[in-house]
Amino acid sequence: MTTQHQTLSKALSRGVSYLDITPTMFREATEHYRAIAGTLQSHGLDADIKPYGSFGTGTVVRPSTDEGTGSYYDLDILAECHRDECGWTTPSSLREEVDGILEDDGTYAKMIEGSTHQCVTLAYAETDSRPAFRLDLSSGVHMDLPLGTDVAFAEEAVNLAWIDPDEWKGSNPKGLCKWFNDQNLRFRVYGLEARRKSLFEENPGAYASVEEIPEDMDRSALQRAVQVVKRSRDIYYRRAREDRAPSSCALMVLVTRFAEMLPQSSDVTTIVESFVEGCQAMRDGRFAIPNPAYPEDLAANWEQEKVDRFFNWIDELKLNLQADLSDSAKRDAAIDAILGSGTSDRLVRDKIFDPAPEPVRINRNVKPWRL
């Protein structure tokens, strides 16, 4: 293994850790969604609330619009509602019940930021100990997939209640989390103690001892790789001023799929590289991203331009992974292109990188023109 490879892994893991959810936020968000379940219960609505998406897989990254303040971490939670007999006849009757309980509640009424087609959003303002975050609460009921449907955790499938227009949307967010966490297990056990030790050392004062670090705050190389890929997507699509970006869910599936054949000792660089190579191999042929936990193609509605942009991003990511790290200017530009500007400065402050020369400020004096 080359030094370049190791340096890159270290920079990517550390750099993306700056964007992760904090232990305080994780604890508070968990308390909050449990409290919501309690409130629903006290109004006679029996619901299990579970995190899903990045919150359920430990792959949260700060939104890229965030240049320090004023933006939110978005955390997804799902209320799986139970009722004997006939349940709810329409999606909107379920959503009205959930939204209604929260709207009538003294605590939640003032936190509701909005209700959309898919979910109701509760906002938690910034405090001294953590940044602001939002809980996007989706509601649904259990659904039985046809017998013999060949997907992972089929028993976790739900019908999500969407409103305006009313729609039961078959899905399996919790099953997908379980699938990921299963796949992640072998990466998690590898080097766990060493990671916990360095997490302890990198966050002086955050934990009293290594033993105090909650399991949920540990991040395997696979989780870090998913975070790196998602962040790279955010930065690329923002710089390209293009909003047809691939979903986090689709990326999580691709990264995990292409890591299946890798040894459990693989580091972040290896996993991200295998994602890039795997995607590049998809260039010729039909483009599809099967959901491992639900019979659907996550890329079903991608138009050609979206597919082309996707490959353009993959090429750009590859270019950055291959940057010559011994050239400190190229190194900083590549790391910032993947993780966002300011990341390399922080790596310098944390003594992971040596300082690079200052770039020239580009004035926009002259604009290209031709006859």
Binding site: E242, D336, V360, K367, P368
Partner: protein, 240 residues
């Protein structure tokens, strides 16, 4: 010839990755050529781009009255829209470039810093993200009109023409007289400084070329709007 050689030597002194060759082609005007690799390490709005570009800069005998030509050894990115038919880069409106160069004591260095480097940054940005980082001008005469509109801060095309004419031809304009833009103000209180700056920095031949293009663009707009109003009049007639 001395000017153009001195300019290339000054540039090479600052960037030692560049080499300097003087080339004569047949009976054509002699020119100096600078070849080499330049390093782009630029940042704009938080986006840092670093890349090495191999290129050649051709400076002709009448420099700095003319604008240098630049060619990338590996060519520009496939769909990059600002390359001329002869393969040289379209760096900007000539008057705009001349002004950026000649505001400085060492025009070729100003050309490098103010014109070439931002263009290389734009090319690298485009190569990665398929979009121009700080916009570009419309192709053809419309783009020239855009620049002079911004420069004079005047919207009306015929006013832009009159101001450019005043800069290109010395005779019909007096600083203490009415401003050519039609504002009825004295030029000294209006566009005199703009006109002086153009006269000082931009060669007459470039001004004449740009004037022709601006007049052409203004004419196109006028014809369009005349047609439009004729069409509207016709519509109005039909209604009544």
């Amino acid at each position: 010839m001395q000017d153009c050689l001195a300019a290339t030597h000054a540039l090479r002194k600052r960037h030692n990755s560049l080499t300097c060759t003087v080339v004569y082609i047949g009976d054509e005007a002699p020119y100096a050529r600078v070849d080499g690799t330049i390093r782009l390490d630029g940042e704009q709005q938080g986006v840092r781009l670093v890349a090495d570009y191999e290129l050649s800069i051709v400076v002709s005998e009448d420099f700095p009255a003319s604008v240098p030509k630049v060619r990338l050894s590996d060519g520009a990115p496939a769909t990059y829209p600002h390359v001329d038919a002869d393969g040289t880069l379209c760096l900007g409106v000539n008057g705009e470039i001349a002004m950026a160069m000649n505001n400085s004591a060492v025009p070729l260095i100003a050309f490098y810093d103010e014109v070439l480097l931002p263009n290389i940054y734009a090319i690298e940005y485009y190569r990665r993200y398929r979009v121009m980082p700080f916009g570009d001008r419309s192709h053809g005469s419309q783009g020239v009109l855009e620049f002079y509109r911004e420069f004079f801060d005047v919207d009306d095309e015929s006013a832009v023409c009159q101001l450019l004419r005043a800069a290109a031809f010395r005779s019909p304009y007096r600083r203490r007289g009415k401003c050519p833009c039609g504002s009825k103000l004295r030029a000294t209180r209006c566009h005199a400084n703009h006109i002086d700056q153009l006269r000082a920095c931009v060669d007459k031949s470039i001004l004449m070329d740009d004037l022709a293009l601006v007049a052409n663009a203004a004419n196109i707009t006028k014809t369009k709007s005349a047609k439009e109003s004729a069409r509207l009049r016709l519509k109005g007639h039909r209604k009544t």
